[in-house]
Symmetry: C2
Subunit: 273 residues, 2 copies
């Protein structure tokens, strides 16, 4: 069965979407079948794959409103083994309805993700920069979560609270909570959620700040910090202009190579468990 | 009376907090008395002023739970005429309680902000990267809102939906809505909300992307785009390490000069109205 990993950070603009798309593409280029599910109402996943949300033929909310399964909504990408699903949000009312459905029917979302595990080796879920209903539904459906940490002080300070809050949320959501039918030992109680690890994004060894943040993270998190960091590169920031993952339009650039290495490290860590 | 301006963007990491603090400091250095109110549960404002949220003696939520007014909660900053108020959030339960109070008692928040207008020339509200209860309470209490636009394609695409969604929200929240006592012409119906303007952040004229985004914004938004853009500089990214606004520790650097110019342009536009 496929694995489900969420990209989570409450700090905005740290590279969640850029990483979900490039890790997904790097895995798809190494023989995995990958589905990227964007639950952020800002639709970053489809925008960075060159598709405006209003041009999508289907949207994620259809799993709640119609007969379609998540796997029916998967859109093709420039890579054969990479697919994506995105919200198709066009108004404030759409967004509010979408977030309310994710809150009220999180278990439907989880069931749909579980069904998709039969078709994909890896499912990556791109979350918005908060711990609201979209991120919660994603965490409930995930085996583990990955935390991109931008190599900036303002971001470093948000990591500890995030890990603590996610832990609190998971304990509350699953363990010991009476299931709707009152049976505390329900199947859900067994859904463990693991920290897959942290990885540095927009890393810059040439600045004092970049070195400071990298050193502090290594000190504070040890093994939990991936060896591979993603450098800040202009090539990576241009991805949304090109509408393709960077690992396709420029495989040999430092940013792309780093994402291939990160994907390899992810797979290596899978085998360690 | 003082003016209230919110820094709003759903895209994360675009410079809302960095701008609120530096515009506030630049205004305080030019003779204005300024209060910065952070409503983002991530407490970016206090972190970038060098204070950990858990070290604060008071927190914003006290306006809901105790006898204190917002102005009693104002903390001193390195500048005589600059004060700030921040949430003091230490757990997931705290965060959820804070956001629920902002939703249920938005009118108390608005009343407190209105009281603070008597003490401060300018009140800047730093919002989280979403349109949830914190940003809504901020918009309801504001005269206008400023939108920082990071000079990146992924951010440019989010500006139009943001302006539309804020417009929808405002129409729903105020105009024509029956006030709780059924009187549709309630005082609230008269709370106009204006777009103060957009301004470019992390601008970089040296890259194709930087030039592309700047050109498209100027084309699409004309007068609404401030003449002053904020360059991407290492100095500005180090602000949280130094715990002071950049305009204090390095007034002459390009980043600080840009924030002084932006504050001047803001004041100039005030007089135009
Ligand atoms: N390694 C990198 N080097 C340079 N630019 C990058 C890098 N990673 C991401 N970016 C750029 O930084 C911006 C933020 O990245 P991205 O949107 O992926 O972050 P995010 O965490 O998904 O943001 P949000 O919190 O809004 O969802 C984007 O404009 C992106 O193009
Ligand atoms: N002009 C700039 N040049 C370089 N770095 C900057 C600039 N403005 C902000 N930064 C850095 O970019 C990161 C994002 O900025 P900031 O946290 O102010 O954005 P934000 O919009 O408030 O983020 P969030 O969405 O998480 O609230 C921070 O680490 C900050 O130090
Ligand atoms: Mg994103
Ligand atoms: Mg912020």
């Amino acid at each position: 069965d496929g694995r489900v990993i969420s990209l989570v950070s409450r700090k905005g603009g740290v590279g969640k979407t850029t990483s979900a798309v490039n890790i997904g593409a790097a895995l798809a280029l190494s023989g995995h079948t990958v589905l990227i599910v964007g639950v952020d109402p800002q639709c970053g996943v489809c925008r960075s794959l060159g598709v405006e949300p209003t041009d999508l033929s289907t949207g994620l909310a259809e799993i709640f409103t119609g007969p379609k399964a998540l796997t029916d909504l998967a859109q093709a990408s420039p890579l054969r083994d990479l697919f994506f699903v995105s919200p198709r949000i066009d108004s404030l009312d759409d967004e509010e309805a979408f977030l309310e459905m994710l809150e009220a029917h999180a278990d439907d979302f989880v069931r749909e993700i579980d069904q998709a595990r039969f078709l994909y080796d890896t499912i990556l879920v791109d979350c918005p920069p908060n711990l609201g209903s979209a991120t919660r539904a994603a965490l409930m459906s995930s085996d583990s979560y990955l935390v991109p940490v931008q190599a900036e002080e303002l971001c470093r300070g948000t990591v500890d609270p995030l890990l603590e809050f996610v832990g609190d949320f998971h304990r509350r959501a699953f363990v010991g909570q009476p299931a709707p039918d009152g049976n505390t030992a329900g199947a859900d109680a067994e859904r463990p959620l693991r920290l897959e690890g942290l990885f540095l994004t927009m890393a810059n060894e040439r600045t004092r700040m970049g070195r400071h943040v990298a050193a502090r993270l290594a000190e504070d998190f040890g093994e939990e910090l991936f060896d591979t960091g993603i450098p800040r590169t202009t090539r990576l920031s241009e991805m949304a202009l090109r509408g393709k993952p960077a690992v396709i339009y420029d495989r040999r650039s430092p940013g792309s190579r780093a994402y291939f290495d990160l994907a390899d490290e992810l797979v290596y860590r899978f085998h360690l468990e």
